[in-house]
């Protein structure tokens, strides 16, 4: 049987060491003819055996959370916040100092410095107010004219209604007055007629009485002249 060379035996030894991790066995006489490898094999077996019987140490008590550092700080603790607030303060200060105006008009933004825009804006506002006042005045004039015309028409209607009422009312009153007068005249005539009838009756009675007593002399009553 041919003895394996050093390279082969080294390969076999390394394979055996790797396979030992997988609990596989190898011919125990493989390395016996090579004293160096045999000694290494024995040492490896001894170490492996000692490790199997070795008892692991318990970990002493320690602060297990010490390594846990919360990197995610809340947004209000963000480190850049003071610097950002300072930057915004300086920006606001510069806006005030240089009197910067931002104007947005017709979808375009305009930036002006030193308050020029304020004066222009003031003039624009005055012009706009004048235009508005003029248009308001003209509107009011039209409204007043319309109102006066309406009033006039309404007044005419009212006058016409009043005149009609007055005419109607006086006509009715006169009608009533004439009716009353005619009734009065009629009543007077009825009274006179009754009075005349009474007088005729008396006269008739007097005539009848006179006739009757005329036939009998000295039968004339003593008060005959008095009655007459």
């Amino acid at each position: 049987m041919k003895a394996p060379n050093d390279k082969n035996i080294e390969q076999q030894f390394s394979q055996w060491l790797d396979q030992q991790q997988e609990n596989t066995t190898i011919d125990e006489f493989t390395f016996e003819k090579h004293s160096q490898w045999h000694e290494r094999e024995n040492t490896a077996r001894y170490i492996a055996h000692q490790i199997e019987t070795d008892i692991e140490e318990d970990v002493p008590n320690w602060n297990r959370g010490s390594a846990f550092v919360q990197d995610k700080s809340p947004w209000w603790q963000w480190h850049g916040l003071p610097a950002m607030s300072m930057a915004f303060s300086l920006f606001a200060l510069s806006l005030v100092i240089f009197k910067v105006d931002f104007t947005i008009k017709d979808g375009a933004m305009m930036i002006s410095f030193s308050g020029n825009e304020t004066i222009k804006k003031q003039a624009d506002i005055e012009l706009m107010i004048d235009q508005k006042l003029q248009s308001f005045a003209s509107e009011q004039q039209v409204l007043l004219a319309n109102y006066a015309a309406d009033i006039k028409v309404k007044q005419q209607d009212n006058n016409l209604q009043l005149a009609s009422y007055i005419l109607n009312a006086s006509r009715k009153e006169r009608k009533e007055d004439i009716g009353d007068f005619v009734q009065y005249i009629n009543e007077q005539r009825a009274d006179e007629q009754f009075n005349n009838q009474m007088k005729f009756k008396q006269l008739e009675q007097a005539l009848f009485y006179k006739k009757s007593h005329y036939d009998e002399p000295n039968s004339t009553p003593a008060n005959w002249i008095t009655e007459e």
């Binding site: 040492t43 490896a44 390594a67």
Partner: protein, 184 residues
Amino acid sequence: MFERSDETLIKQVLKGKKAAWITLVKRYEKPLFNYALRMVNHREDALDLMQDVFVAIFRNLSSFRGDSPFKGWLFKIAHYRCIEFYRRKRPMQGLDDLPEQTGDIADTCPEYLMNSSQQSQKLHKALALLPINQKLVVEMKFFQHCTFDDIARQLGLSVNTVKSRLYSALDKLKGHLELEHEST
């Protein structure tokens, strides 16, 4: 009880949920602490390194795309942090240099002495004598059960370099373990 996946927890952490972060930390703190303990051999330093790794994880969590498992990504960061830690602690010492003889883990951690066996202590003492580059490869190979390809990918090295470092480490460990055996 239903356990939330790493991806779900990461999404919640990124939304600012601290409880999800605590859950994620609790899930991986033990393997990470033991990894750090094996790499720096000092309990307080291991705790510092673990915290350092979790801080780095938290800071870079948003860049985790989920292409590979979270555990692998976590330990990749841990390896880099470990090397940085080592450089900071020993600025004059190279990564391939043998470490200075300092107090081992058993000296600084009485609980370790109680919990681990004598054989295990021997192994940890021998590991502490390895250069940091070799120790890292041993750690990934035997403790984290990575293949050579995985180790090479995570550390940004060629597979041959990884193998070379591991074989050198095994040779040194054999010597240290025999010395320990003889001394006891």
